[in-house]
């Protein structure tokens, strides 16, 4: 066992840090969805900048145009990325972390040649079409169907919780290509151009704010997609979708984790600097704030240790269900931390856009234990697949 970086890794860190500090966009990333095109432009411009400097596709193999660095260097990159205050990948996320890697794993040379460079150099935005209304945590209940009609698929159905649908060029779309199939069989993974006739969008307001239409519901009404857009085999979409599950092997949320660690430090400084209830002593002396801050600080250190362990394990084995442990712990610790932030902030927490900037992310943190598999789902995975406890009886 050892945690000590090689001189190459240290040099990589220095290079990444140096470049990031110099190149991170100065302005704030737009957040309101009435400025959706601004968001697209901001995200793509930042992606182009990374591409031009050779940082695009940090986790992609170099033969596909990626940076092709080791897992540890990816970790270093994400750490430095977050510490430099770089903006989240945003609308480029699905292309870089899901669609691109899936094409690398299962796409045809033609699919790869067309799409991968466009993703990397910041030309195209992708969105995801996995979740469906009514299916919730039960992904196998997928009902969007695609009939094969000649060399085309004819898609009918609906998807939901699709981020950036309104500004995406393509969607990774899961649909049932075998009528009557159940659960995980008979599903295909399809590249769906978002300008295809028959696609309609309904923006969904989140609880975060009056203009936060982060998700869309996507309706498909006789949407005709070339059969050549299927990735992998027809009816093998479930496996194709899972091909990328372990792609970033635990580094995917490093930037979020670092941001939360930095948030703890900021809150500690804030609690030292602000007066508490009596207007005299600092808030850190007040009630249980000190204890909650200390616990959050320890928890975020714990999250980092978990991620390092995941990266370490990934060097030897494919990632297993243990990823659920990090997800479960991190999402709940983040929610505690975000709530602590608004409690410490006090009156200003009622202001959505206060200078402290704590309220909006606090509200967004309610999604942490829901998105990407609810905490209940994570606990089921841990109990059944890691601990080997019996599955609950199914009716």
């Amino acid at each position: 066992m050892q945690i000590e970086f090689t001189s190459e890794e240290m040099a990589f860190r220095a290079e990444a840090r140096c470049w990031l500090r110099a190149n991170v966009p100065a302005g704030e990333r737009p957040i309101h969805s009435d400025r959706a095109l601004d968001i697209r432009e901001f995200d793509l411009e930042w992606q182009r900048k990374q591409f031009e400097a050779g940082w695009a596709g940090i986790s992609w193999p170099s033969e596909y145009g990626g940076r092709g660095v080791s897992l540890i260097e990816q970790l270093i990159w994400h750490e430095e990325y977050a510490r430099a205050g770089a903006p989240r990948a945003g609308s480029c996320f699905v292309g870089l972390s899901h669609a691109g890697p899936t094409l690398i794993a299962r796409g045809t040379p033609e699919q790869q040649a067309f799409h991968l460079p466009r993703i990397l150099r910041g030309d195209t935005v992708w969105c995801q079409g996995f979740s469906e209304p009514g299916a919730g945590s039960d992904l196998a209940a997928l009902g969007t169907r695609a009939e094969i009609d000649g060399d085309e698929l004819v898609v009918n159905g609906a998807k939901i919780w699709t981020s950036y649908a309104a500004i995406a060029d393509y969607q990774e779309l899961l649909c049932r290509t075998e009528a009557g199939s159940r659960k995980h069989s008979g599903i295909s993974w399809v590249i769906c151009p978002m300008d295809t006739p028959g696609i309609e969008l309904r923006p969904i307001l989140t609880m975060v704010g009056p203009n936060d239409f982060h998700f869309c519901q996507v309706f498909y009404n006789d949407v005709r997609i070339p059969l050549a857009n299927v990735v992998g085999e027809v009816n093998d979409g479930w496996n194709v979708a899972n091909a990328t599950l372990g792609f970033e092997r635990g580094t995917g949320f490093v930037a979020d984790q670092i941001q939360n660690s930095e948030l703890v430090e900021r809150l500690i400084a804030m609690a030292r600097g602000r007066c508490g209830l009596d207007g005299l002593s600092p808030a850190i002396d007040d009630g249980d704030f000190a204890s909650r801050l200390a616990m959050s600080r320890a928890e975020m250190a714990g999250v980092r240790a978990m991620t390092y362990a995941t990266v370490s394990r990934a060097a030897n084995a494919n990632p297993g269900p243990e990823g659920s442990l990090v997800k479960l712990f991190f999402s709940e610790a983040s929610q505690r931390l975000r709530r602590l932030g608004v409690d410490l902030l006090g009156p200003e927490a009622l202001e959505l856009s206060s200078d402290a900037g704590l309220t909006t992310p606090y509200l967004r943190s309610y999604a942490a234990s829901i998105g990407g598999g609810t905490s209940d789902v994570q606990r089921n995975i841990i109990a059944e697949r890691v601990l080997g406890l019996p599955r609950a009886p199914r009716p």
């Binding site: 969904i204 998700f215 207007g279 509200l363 905490s375």
Partner: protein
């Protein structure tokens, strides 16, 4: 006599308020729109006034309906359930403040519902006077603000709101206005020693309890119909147990609130103690039930299309009204315990000691 059950007369009051609310202020008034729309609840304040909501606990001789704090608590709870603008609670309290301060004409105007009172959330609730910074909730169209600090309760007319500044509100259905008040002791005020602050505290606790209960009802209703893995999610023990815990918290909150109200009515020596405990428990129940309700709804709970998020946001407003949980916990430790030696040494006491 220990009677904590709602009487048939009280049931009638609750029913009539529920009917009005279900009719005039259903949850679907919060259907999201492209631009934020603050609530228009004050449009029905005159109906509330006609129904007697604002004068419920004031003596008939003073122009009120002649019921007690208990009936006001019952109504405030329903207002929480229906996510009515918290100005309704501030107006209920405002009537008493104006009355105690001897201003009959303003009290009557408030009772009619024509002059809504906005809750003023103090930046420094521990101050012993009224000057300072406040957030006003839903102040548009309000005539007064209800100030609340350790100095007691006071009404500040909108003419005395200095430097009013509208802020983006965490709850887009409630406007949020920063104001400064310069009056150390505004003319219409009631000192803390009067005990009216307990009435205010218990109306706030009742509203918070209503939030906790409505969040529970929302979860239970959803858990019975929403299916996952071919069964209602309410059959999953994780969901089931979360709902059981929600009911437990809501039940503790309600019983503490009504117990405190009855203690106040009976002039029990532990009235302060119970009023503080009720606020802590009701606030805790509201926050936790609201969060669990979102979780129980999954992604749908995180949207602005369902009203689950409003329970969280209202809890933040009401928690701060009269001082947040951190402040209440400090007061809880400073309060006199109900079973003090003084009470014990008395051979007979008027209230269960």
């Amino acid at each position: 006599m220990i009677d904590m059950e709602i009487s048939s007369e009280q049931r009638q009051i609750v029913d009539s308020v529920q009917n009005l609310l279900a009719d005039a202020l259903p949850y679907d008034r919060f259907v999201p729109r492209p631009t934020p729309v603050p609530n228009a609840d004050r449009a029905v304040f005159t109906q509330f006034g006609e129904l007697g909501v604002f004068g419920l606990g004031l003596a008939e001789a003073s122009g009120g309906v002649g019921y007690s704090l208990v009936e006001e608590v019952l109504v405030a709870r329903e207002c929480g359930r229906f996510l009515v603008s918290p100005a309704v609670v501030a107006t209920m309290i405002g009537v008493h403040v104006a009355h105690f301060a001897g201003d009959r004409s303003h009290a009557e105007a408030m009772m009619r519902g024509g002059t809504p009172v906005a809750p003023a959330l103090a930046f420094a609730p521990a101050a012993t006077h009224f000057a300072g910074k406040y957030h006003l909730a839903d102040a548009e169209g309000a005539e007064w603000a209800l100030l609340w600090s350790e100095g007691g309760l006071a009404l500040a007319h909108r003419d005395s709101w200095h430097g009013a500044q509208n802020m983006d509100s965490i709850d887009s259905t409630l406007t949020l206005t920063r104001v400064a008040v310069k009056d150390i002791m505004p003319p219409l005020r009631v000192p803390a020693a009067n005990g009216l602050w307990r009435r205010a505290q218990l109306l706030v606790s009742a509203y918070l309890t209503g939030l906790a209960e409505a969040a529970l009802d929302d979860s239970v209703g959803y858990a019975k119909v929403r299916e996952q893995f071919q069964q209602p999610i309410g059959a999953f023990q994780a969901v089931k147990h979360r709902c059981a815990d929600m009911l437990t918290r809501a039940s503790v909150a309600w019983n503490s609130t009504i117990f405190a109200a009855l203690t106040d009515q009976a002039e029990g020596p532990d009235a302060d103690f119970q009023a503080i405990a009720a606020k802590i428990l009701a606030s805790d129940a509201a926050f936790r039930n609201a969060a669990v309700n979102i979780q129980n709804h999954g992604a749908y709970g995180f949207t602005g299309e369902h009203h689950a998020h409003l329970f969280v946001k209202r809890a933040h407003f009401l928690d701060r009204f009269g001082g947040d949980a951190t402040y209440q916990k400090r007061r809880m430790l400073a309060a006199n315990a109900p079973s003090s030696d003084a009470e014990r040494s008395s051979p007979v006491d008027g209230l269960a000691g």
